[in-house]
């Protein structure tokens, strides 16, 4: 192995693989380093794959990628202790030739993506942890230090695709430590069921059709958080994630929250008889635009979760990761073609490309939402509960007239939130943060 590369990519998740693939495809001499036994063995996601971001990198990925089901229906649930009020969107249009969203199992998907990266010409070394960066006296990054003997490797540029809990950038002082209110701690279980049972329970005609359920309300026990349930081919991914700072404050055990979600009367029938085969935990960067660290410097740049590229409002992350990886690679390729060094100044090109893409546009659009939710727990407890009470009152036929029921539902909401002024303020704040 050469000891100097055009680029070193730290990490083999979606952002690292996207970056390494695009650079290798363009003929760059790329080294990728992952600490897992195989790419994906350390990686966790819900997991939804957004086709567009990957299609821009590997147009024919559908021919060989391990995809579970394509999503034809999305449900949104407002959960209370014993009920849920839901909205759902299902469309046969999603049964298109090239579906838009898929459920995946990340360990398998990452392994596949990594094979494409190597086929494109990148060199991958696994079971190797990058300990630090090599810097010149002027602070320019010129390589990495690994935990292997004589593990120093040099490169023109280092792409940090090391994930939310990546420590290389932090140790090297390139990005600040993560704050406990900027990350969600999520736990998830993978429950196996026969393929036919999954289809029957979710009313799916096509063999590969899938449903996702996103859940707000009592699932987070008053914390800022959400739950989810995704259908895979022969399994169901079910999880819940809340702000780490909230877990620390409430001291609610994440797995207790998950157990409660699993035993909820709306959820339990969907999981009945399933066999749990994996339990995982992971942090999700949810601080949004204001939590994004410095993204470039002399000889380095940051992609994916390490850059906080997650749109928590729309539950998108892997597409932001892959897009940032691709844009980073295209930047590096372009600078080389123009004979320019990857200096902080020249890497502005990457920041410009990001700013011009949906990645930054979306994060910027919702920049006020994380702060809003953190300061307004009523969106997670009071409103979902009141909505469910109102629904039950209206639907339960008991001789009370409807006008009285409406009046009581309104009084209940007013009581729960402590006045109409507060309800109006909440609506206004929410609308403003969303805009």
């Amino acid at each position: 192995m050469s000891d100097h590369f055009d680029a070193i990519v730290v990490g083999a998740g979606p952002s690292g693989n996207a970056a390494a693939y695009v650079m290798a495809k363009a003929g760059l001499n790329v080294l990728q380093i992952d600490r897992g036994e195989y790419p994906g063995s350390k990686n966790v996601q819900g997991a939804i794959l957004y086709a567009d971001a990957l299609e821009r990198i590997i147009p024919d990925f559908r021919d060989s990628a391990p995809l579970e089901r394509h999503v034809i229906e999305q449900r949104f649930w407002m959960l209370s202790e014993r009920s849920h009020t839901g909205a759902q969107y299902r469309s046969d249009d999603f049964n298109e030739e090239k579906p838009n969203r898929y459920t995946i199992l990340r360990a398998q998907f990452d392994k596949w993506f990594s094979r494409q990266v190597r086929a494109a010409g990148a060199i991958l070394i696994t079971e190797t942890t990058v300990k630090d960066l090599i810097k010149t006296e002027s602070g320019k990054v010129i390589g990495v230090v690994t935990d292997r003997d004589g593990g120093k490797i040099h490169a023109d540029i280092v792409v940090l695709a090391e994930g939310v809990n990546g420590m290389v950038g932090q140790r090297a002082g390139l990005r600040p430590e993560i704050k406990a209110n900027h990350v969600a701690l999520a736990v998830k279980e993978t429950h196996f069921l026969p393929e036919e049972t999954v289809r029957e329970r979710f009313n799916l005609a096509g063999e590969d059709d899938g449903v996702v359920i996103e859940v707000l309300g009592s699932v987070s026990s008053g914390m800022v958080g959400t739950g989810f349930l995704y259908t895979n081919k022969e399994s169901i991914s079910i999880g819940v994630g809340c702000l780490l700072a909230d877990f620390a404050e409430t001291r609610i055990a994440p797995y207790a929250l998950l157990d409660k979600f699993k035993s909820h009367p709306s959820v339990a029938p969907l999981l009945k008889g399933s066999e749990m085969k994996e339990y995982v935990a992971h942090l999700i960067p949810e601080g949004g635009y204001d939590a994004i660290p410095r993204l470039t410097g002399d000889g380095w740049l940051i992609v994916g979760d390490a850059g906080q590229f997650v749109n928590a409002v729309h539950r998108e992350g892997s597409n932001l990761a892959m897009t940032s990886g691709r844009l980073a690679a295209e930047t590096i390729i372009q600078l080389r073609a123009e004979g320019k060094q990857p200096t902080e100044e020249n890497l502005k090109l990457y920041r410009d490309k990001l700013a011009d893409s949906f990645v930054m546009k979306d994060l910027k659009k919702y920049r006020k939402v994380p702060h809003l939710l953190e300061k307004n727990r009523q969106f997670f407890n009071i409103y979902p509960a009141a909505l469910n009470r109102a629904m039950q009152a209206m639907l339960r036929v008991d001789g009370t007239d409807k006008r009285s029921k409406e009046a009581e539902a309104m009084r209940d909401l007013k009581r729960a939130r402590g006045g109409w002024w507060r309800v109006a303020t909440d609506l206004f704040k929410f609308a403003r943060a969303w805009r």
């Binding site: 360990a107 398998q108 809990n165 406990a180 701690l185 001291r251 797995y255 935990a281 942090l283």
Partner: protein, 103 residues
């Protein structure tokens, strides 16, 4: 190098983690506690309840102890205790630690 399932105090957690694959780096724990003279911080104490792998518990001396064999490397404890300096955290050596089958 052994392919070992972790043991924890809670039988329920044990059952949960039993499904996971680990390659434990014997004698090389990647998480250690540096007890502070003034007692354990609320952040460190919270880990006995909120560590998703149940790695933390209160020992006989009343101080928080860690057995990181079942660790899923989420980093929650590292982030919560970064201010108090009670936890030294690094990733396990390359190849060791949790091995996700599905992720």
């Amino acid at each position: 190098m052994t392919d070992k399932k972790p043991e924890t105090a809670s039988p329920k957690m044990e059952e949960r983690l039993y499904q996971n694959r680990y390659l434990v780096d014997e004698g090389n724990p990647h998480v250690t506690i540096h007890p502070q003279p003034g007692g354990d911080s609320p952040a460190l104490q919270s880990l006995t309840q909120i560590c998703p792998a149940g790695c933390y518990r209160t020992g006989e001396t009343g101080r928080v102890e860690v057995v990181a064999d079942g660790c899923m490397e989420c980093g929650s404890c590292r982030i919560l205790c970064q201010a108090t300096g009670e936890i030294e955290w690094s990733y396990p050596r390359g190849g060791y630690g949790i091995l996700f089958k599905f992720g």
